[in-house]
Amino acid sequence: MNKNNILYSLLTLTLLFAVIRVKSQESNIISNLTITPQSLEHNPALFLEGKAGYVGFPLLSSINVSASIPWNMKQMLSPSADGSINLSSTNIYNMMKENNVIATNVNIDIIRFGFKAWSKGYVHVSVSERISALVNIKKNTLGFFLLGNGSDEYLGKEVNMSNSGISQNAYTEIALGYSQKIGKSLTVGGKFKYLIGQTNVNTNKSNLTFYTDPTTYAVTAKTDILINTSLPFANNDFYFSDLFANNGIAFDLGATYSLFDNKLKLQASIVDLGYIKWKANTETYRSIDGGGEFVFDGFNISVEDMLDESGANGLINTLLDSIEQLGVETVVGNKYTTRLDTKFYAGASYTVVKGLDVSGLFRMEFDNKFNNYSLGVALTYKPAKWFNLSVGNTFSSISALGLGAGFAINGGAFQFYLMADQISGFTFETIKSANVRFGINFVIKEKDKIAQASKRAKKESEENM
């Protein structure tokens, strides 16, 4: 069996494997499309091999949209024999996990360019807009409203609804990076990022417990919340300068090491080690004195009131006044700092045969509330310097299986790439997440000095002849 057959077999198996309904959370495919400048993002030490430089098409060099929900339609809906759909509160509760995350991200490169410098170095410059939003719904938070506090699940038990929350971030990242070859095998690199925050919602603390007495149904709720926001359009006093008032910095650091005549490449990096200070249009919602407690065991009314329905008037106001005991205050102008979601990468790739790489990339993301990790494995076909095709699977803490695929193709200086999660099983009923990225770059090919010298020598030889 020749190598072409092997390739075709692998491709076929991969595609066949793709018919399985899959869930993919975080895509590592872009890091395997090594002819694209975007593949360098996860490690500032990486070079764009064979290219003297690159320029991203303004606003179109990288458009990345991703979204994920914790359940798919098939899990939520129960089709009947007659084709109608049943959506029931009990079904929704049963399908929920402990943490149910709804997330969306949009990343757009406004400007991106880079160039080779000082023979062994590479300079990278980029301006990008990064927008993310995440809602985490603890099972008990939504379950409480689906099943009710009088259900067997919650009656007489302390229900912990803590750590549900909303997180939203929008900022502009202006980055300047440099990578340097050291010797034959080692490269190191770093990137400095200046960050300009536009909007932020940060649920720093959201502790909520609820208890319903099984006999009297008296309810006790305890809260301790701290939510910071910076939303320039939330109030009527908006100034354009507010969009530039929230600033921060971040760093990326990385290194790569080649072995076995560059067949084996090891890499490690830390990305987005930084913070943003929020100063403009801030509002903080926080519990007073470390949290409040609301207890309601019924209306305290006289016998006469019990027998007089109009006695209920005004009692509702008494209840609402009691709810104020939860004690949440709003503070305007409070400054706060948020940390970026720092990522740690460690990976390796091995050239099995020329034009075929096997790679693995481990990623650990340090979120404010969660630590997510994933391991991506991929098979990348590089038959020529102008074409990459990569297919792979990502194993993550959220989902065991996540197939993806992508390609990049150069036509002279023009480059187009496209990658996506969930290539197969992309149906409305089964989809839970999608991550699509595409873009256009212009790449400047590095002059092949050996080929040039050989050509020169051949010409001289011909001339001499």
């Binding site: 759909i85 008296a218 305290n300």
Partner: protein, 533 residues
């Protein structure tokens, strides 16, 4: 190899692109959450339960409760309301002669002096009264004369009327100078009437003008006097007032029994007293005309017997002072009326002055008679199947989305009383609502002992509260049946339980009910996208 690839691709396309098999035009959304809310958490003491004012409840040193209805005023009258001097109105014709006058312009017509007597009309029951002295604070005396026949050629020059027994503020008889054509009156404020014979004695001095022609041959004349005395209010009366009588009626309510409709309560130490005070300068007789216990509904009224039929109170020893008398009201029928929990007692009585003999009387404008009944109900006794009932309006909203309704009651009781409870659901015509199977709709299947008596020690005091949790489940079918409810009828049956199961108990101020009521509902909401709203 390429063929395998092509086949794989075909298989892939077969599986990859699958159209949604869901019809999103036909979506059923179901919600069946179950919600529990506390409704009531109240501590009720005896005052809350019995709707008794705090000034009625009195506590002994050990906290034992007595209900003392003190100063329950059944009648308070100023004598001015009983003894009134009626307005007077009469006319008197006076005939007199003018003698012949010879031709002598220098001779005046002599002054005519004419006395008249006008009877003073009093009320029937004062026919033998004697008004020795009546000091007036208000009143108008109007006297207007009119010649019945105009004497020929004669006219009145002046007329002065003196009322001999109406003494003015200057101490002299009141004088009225009559001006023809005007409203002639005397303001009697501050004047004193002295009418031991119930007559007004009036003297008229009349000076006529000289005749137009001489000689004047003389004439018989008549003079009409219109006499009015109105708005007579007195400050003081002395004399003898006769046997003035007045009849009055009043009612006493015992709110403790407001809602009772049956059963038996025994309060052996019940006491009642009638207190009468009078500052009227005359002896008074109070005569019971009627005393009965009045009940609501079909319960018959009960005539209270065995009480004193009359009471005489003497004249006060000093003027502006009071005399008083207290009568103990104790009779078997009164005790039975309390025991049967009549909540209303109606009185009718007659007051009569000078019931026994004639004596000198005096009254002032602030003289009064005041009658009060004091009830003392020590809360010691027994209750046997005492039924309290009430009906109230209650609109149960039409809820089609309830699967089940559960009501939980948690009753902690620190009274030695047990309460059975039931609620009936009534429609707009106050008729009981029935379930489809014909049974009357009630909150409990059987009347429920919702509250259990607290444990009582040998000294009759509660030693430990009781606690009872009751769960009432109402199915969705029952909820649908009850949606026509407009009223509910609450019935509570109370029994006392003392030491060793004895019915005799005492109530102390440490008693209370802790009432906690919660409700749990299970929703059953189904919405279809094709439903019209």
């Amino acid at each position: 190899m390429r063929k395998i690839t092509l086949i794989s691709l075909l298989v892939l396309f077969t599986f990859v692109v699958s159209c949604s098999k869901y019809d999103f035009n036909d979506v059923n959304i179901n919600y069946d959450g179950e919600w529990a809310v506390p409704i009531i958490s109240s501590r009720l003491d005896f005052g809350d339960l019995s709707n008794t004012d705090s000034d009625v409840m009195h506590y002994d040193e050990d906290g034992f409760i007595r209900l003392i209805y003190r100063g329950n005023n059944i009648g308070s009258y100023y004598l001015g309301d009983i003894l009134k001097i009626p307005p007077q109105q009469s006319s008197t014709r006076l005939d007199f002669s003018i003698p012949p006058i010879p031709f002598d312009p220098g001779v005046d017509i002599p002054l005519l002096k004419i006395p008249i007597t006008i009877p003073f009309q009093l009320d029937e029951n004062m026919m033998d009264a004697r008004l020795d002295k009546v000091v007036l604070k208000e009143g108008i005396l109007r006297i207007n004369p009119l010649f019945a026949e105009e004497p020929h050629g004669i006219s009145v020059k002046s007329m002065t009327i003196t009322i001999d027994n109406l003494i003015g503020v200057n101490g002299s008889p009141a004088v009225l100078v009559v001006v023809p054509g005007r409203d002639n009156y005397i303001d009697m404020n501050g004047c004193t009437l002295k009418m031991p014979t119930n007559e007004l004695n009036i003297n008229i001095d009349m000076q006529l003008n000289k005749p137009y022609t001489y000689p004047y041959m003389g004439q018989d004349c008549s003079l009409l006097f219109y006499f009015e005395m109105n708005d007579i209010k007195y400050k003081e009366i002395r004399g003898y007032l006769g046997n003035i009588q007045a009849t009055y009626a009043d009612t006493i309510y015992i709110h403790l029994f407001d809602k009772s409709v049956g059963g038996n309560i025994t309060i052996p130490m019940f006491k009642a007293e009638l207190n009468i005070k009078s500052s009227i300068g005359a002896s008074l007789g109070i005569y019971e005309q009627c005393f009965k216990a009045v009940a609501r509904g079909n319960k018959p009224d009960m005539v209270i017997t065995g009480l004193p039929q009359s009471v005489v109170i003497k004249k006060p020893a000093v003027e502006h002072g009071f005399s008083d008398v207290t009568v103990t009201l104790q009779s078997q029928s009164l005790s039975k009326a309390i025991s049967d929990m009549y909540e209303k007692f109606a009185f009718e009585y007659m007051i009569k002055l000078n019931p026994e003999h004639t004596e000198e009387n005096y009254v002032f404008d602030d003289s009064m008679i005041d009658m009060e009944v004091d009830f003392e109900i020590p809360l010691s006794g027994s209750l046997e199947s005492v039924v309290f009932a009430d009906t109230m309006r209650l609109d149960i909203p039409e809820v089609e989305m309830l699967n089940k309704l559960v009501v939980n009651t948690n009753m902690t009781n620190n009274f030695p009383l047990g309460v059975k409870f039931q609620i009936y659901f009534l429609d707009e015509n106050h008729k009981p609502i029935k379930y489809p199977n014909g049974t009357v709709a009630t909150l409990f299947p059987l009347i429920e002992p919702l509250i259990v008596p607290a444990a009582v020690g040998s000294d009759g005091k509660v030693i430990a509260p009781s606690n009872k949790i009751t769960t009432i489940e109402i199915s969705s079918e029952a909820v649908q049946t009850l949606k026509n409810t407009m009223y509910i009828s609450l019935v509570a049956i109370i029994d006392s339980e003392g030491y060793n199961g004895n019915k005799q108990i005492k109530l102390y101020n440490t008693g209370y009910f802790d009432v906690k009521i919660g409700m749990k509902v299970k929703a059953d909401i189904s919405v279809n996208s094709n439903d019209n709203y």
